[in-house]
């Protein structure tokens, strides 16, 4: 097994005191980010990214990916204790997690949530370890048409699998592509869509968009809801942990199913949020205690948490091996790779072996460190959420502004952050998905480049996207995903008249 050897080399890279320290800092910061409203995995990483420019890429990605793991863990704390999902993917955790806390079983609920998160993440990391090198070596043979077809499939999946109306998803996504096009054309070097503005010469930076859309937008939504945090107290002692752990193996079937759902939804960029809902729904339908779901069933905590973590982690697989991120946070990490001078995609596995395997090894260690930290520090994290919103909100605004400024040391970006923030508030309220918008801003240039190169090869004929078996298959899957809502609608209509009334 070549992968095992590479992985061991990766552990050798990661196991230094300095990297372990970054891991602990990253997890703690990540949990705090996950607990606070307005700061989430994606914009937390976006804000801290400029600070890592001077670090070695391996240390930087360890710090940032650990923030991501921490944010995934943190969402569970607020869901269970406060009934407030700190992150969208922990909404499903509130259904049974908070009732458990109300029944005085907060410790059990938290232990179950953290342990399931860990199991889900571990499963996904094993999938990455085994599958990523294979996918990457396969993708090495891709030409421009195949590259474009992968982008096409990724974006069509948003349309087919999103909860939002397809036309809204397409509109938001295409707006992202339009924003990505502003500035210098990467193929010809010509300026476009700048309308004579100097500020727009370098285009819109997706980091600024992420900070505005997810950070400022979220604060505005929280403000509108007028949240007051009333939570349950919690402490976890070793006895509770031990008893919960003894109970967990009984739910191995739910766990395994949630892992598979999570990995599937993470690799195809549907993301952690639908994965957690789907996993909860299926667990509810198949469980013997299904009718008790919603009143504090431990299985109702295990299912969404496992799936959310498996999805969040496996979203890094296409990012590393194909250069197509599976989630907004993975997109921000991909932006980081570009800034550190690394080219994401299949070549990474050949040219930057130390980096890739160091990152994968850090995923194993980071999740173990994360589990220990969250189990021992829950009271501290819960205390942060008790700080009143009127103190937290301006501090988060200042942190977002500093984050937006440091992207290019430019105050115009802070203005753009505000614009994106207000836009994010309206888009969110009107049920437009933000993830495809952000991913389009990140991948716009690359998607366009591969599209134009393909057309150049074929001298303008669109037939190049169906010129061989591989590219036709991927494009075909993309088209199915794109028209999935329409197809399933049609199917339902065809069935209805046949049904006896």
């Amino acid at each position: 097994m070549e992968a095992i050897g590479d992985l061991m080399a990766g552990f050798a890279v990661v196991l230094s005191w300095q990297n372990l320290l970054y891991m602990v800092i990253g997890i703690v910061l990540g949990v705090i980010i996950g607990v606070l409203p307005g700061l989430g995995g994606a914009n937390g990483v976006a804000i801290l990214l400029p600070l890592t420019f001077s670090m070695s890429p391996t240390s930087a990605i360890i710090l940032l990916s650990c923030i991501y793991w921490g944010a995934l863990f943190g969402g569970a704390i607020t869901s269970i204790l406060f009934n407030i999902p700190g992150e969208p993917w922990s909404v499903a955790t509130t259904f049974d997690g908070h009732p458990m806390a109300q029944n005085g079983k907060a410790g059990e609920a938290l232990t179950a949530a953290f342990t399931s998160s860990f199991v889900g993440a571990l499963f996904a990391v094993i999938v990455i370890t085994l599958a990523a090198p294979l996918v990457a070596s396969f993708a090495l043979q891709f030409g421009p048409a195949e590259k474009f077809s992968v982008f096409f499939l990724a974006f069509c999946s948003f349309v087919g699998m999103g909860k939002e109306p397809p036309t809204k998803t397409i509109a938001a996504m295409m707006l992202g592509f339009a924003l990505a096009a502003v500035g210098t054309d990467t193929v010809t070097g010509q300026l476009r869509l700048t309308f004579g503005s100097h500020e727009l010469l370098s285009g819109f930076d997706f980091l600024v968009a992420v900070i505005g859309l997810f950070g400022i937008g979220e604060i505005l939504l929280t403000m509108e809801e007028g949240l007051s945090f009333k939570g349950k107290a919690a402490s976890i002692n070793p006895t509770v942990v031990w008893q919960t752990w003894k109970e967990l193996p009984r739910y191995w079937m739910t766990s395994l199913r949630s892992c598979l759902i999570g990995c599937w939804m993470g690799i195809t960029p549907a993301g952690a949020t639908p994965a957690s809902f789907m996993s909860y729904g299926i667990a509810k339908r198949t469980s013997r205690k299904g009718d008790k779901f919603g009143s504090g069933e431990i299985e109702g905590v295990i299912a969404p948490e496992t799936a959310a973590h498996a999805a969040g982690t496996s979203a890094l697989l296409p990012m590393l091996s194909l250069g197509v991120p599976g989630s907004p946070t993975a997109a921000v990490l991909l932006g980081g790779l570009l800034i550190w001078g690394l080219q994401p995609g299949p070549l990474l596995f050949v040219e930057q072996k130390d980096f890739v395997w160091g990152l994968i090894a850090s995923m194993y260690l980071g999740n173990i460190v994360g589990l220990i930290i969250v189990l021992t520090m829950v009271p501290f994290f819960a205390a942060i959420l008790r700080v009143p919103f009127s103190i937290i909100a301006p501090i988060i605004l200042v942190i977002c502004a500093i984050g937006a400024y440091t992207v290019h040391n430019n105050t115009f970006d802070v203005v753009m952050m505000l614009v994106f923030g207000v836009a994010g508030y309206f888009l969110k309220k009107c049920n437009y998905p933000l993830a495809p918008l952000v991913l389009a801003i990140v991948l716009g240039d690359k998607a366009e480049e591969s599209f134009r190169q393909s057309l150049l090869i074929s001298q303008g004929g669109l037939g190049v996207f169906f010129s061989n078996g591989l590219v036709s298959t991927i494009m075909g899957l993309g088209l199915v995903a794109l028209f999935w809502p329409a197809l399933s609608n049609l199917y339902a209509r065809l069935l209805t008249p046949a049904r006896p009334t």
Binding site: P50, L51, S54, P165, T167, K168, I170, A171, M174, L175, F177, A178, A181, D185, V187, T188, Q190, L191, R192, L193, T194, F195, I216, I219, L220, M223, E224, E225, G226, P388, S390, I391, A393, P394, I395, L397, V398, A401, I402, Y405, T406, T411, V414, V415, L418, G421, V422, Y425, F426, L427, K429, C430, Y432, E448, F451, R452, Q453, L455, L456, G460
Partner: protein, 166 residues
Amino acid sequence: MSDSPDGPSNGPRQHLVEVGVAAAMALLGIIAIIGSLRVGTGWGAEGPKSGFFPFWIGLIVVVTSLYNMVRAYTHGSRKLFANWMQIAQVLKVVLPLTIYVGIIPWIGIYLASALLIAGFMRWIGRYGWPLTLAISIGLPVLTYFTFEMWFLVPLPKGPLEDMLGL
């Protein structure tokens, strides 16, 4: 509830806001199309010209947004988008933030941040001066040491920092 103009049962309707958002997106799509036409959307010496891709993207934005607009008007929810009190809450963040963003180039990010936090805590949180001053001065000082000293990332400064010789 009462029908007073600022009561909790009044406010803009969801479908009208959705029409507005879709119209704004269509406008951005039109801007993209105009910008693309300026640089050329056809076939040039190096393959498709710079405006080729954004032109079609802009066209899709316009078409889908017009559909969303009509759909929101005819089928959209007639519920409240938000009541006026909630909108006032949102403006309590948007207005100070706009001022904050506007004054950063003039007085630097440290002083502006201190003012934003202090204003927010006094105005919305109604905290006493001691806590307000401690946090509104403490955080920028902490930021200064973290960014300028530890990470060596300079942030925008103003006349106050010049006076202090920082």
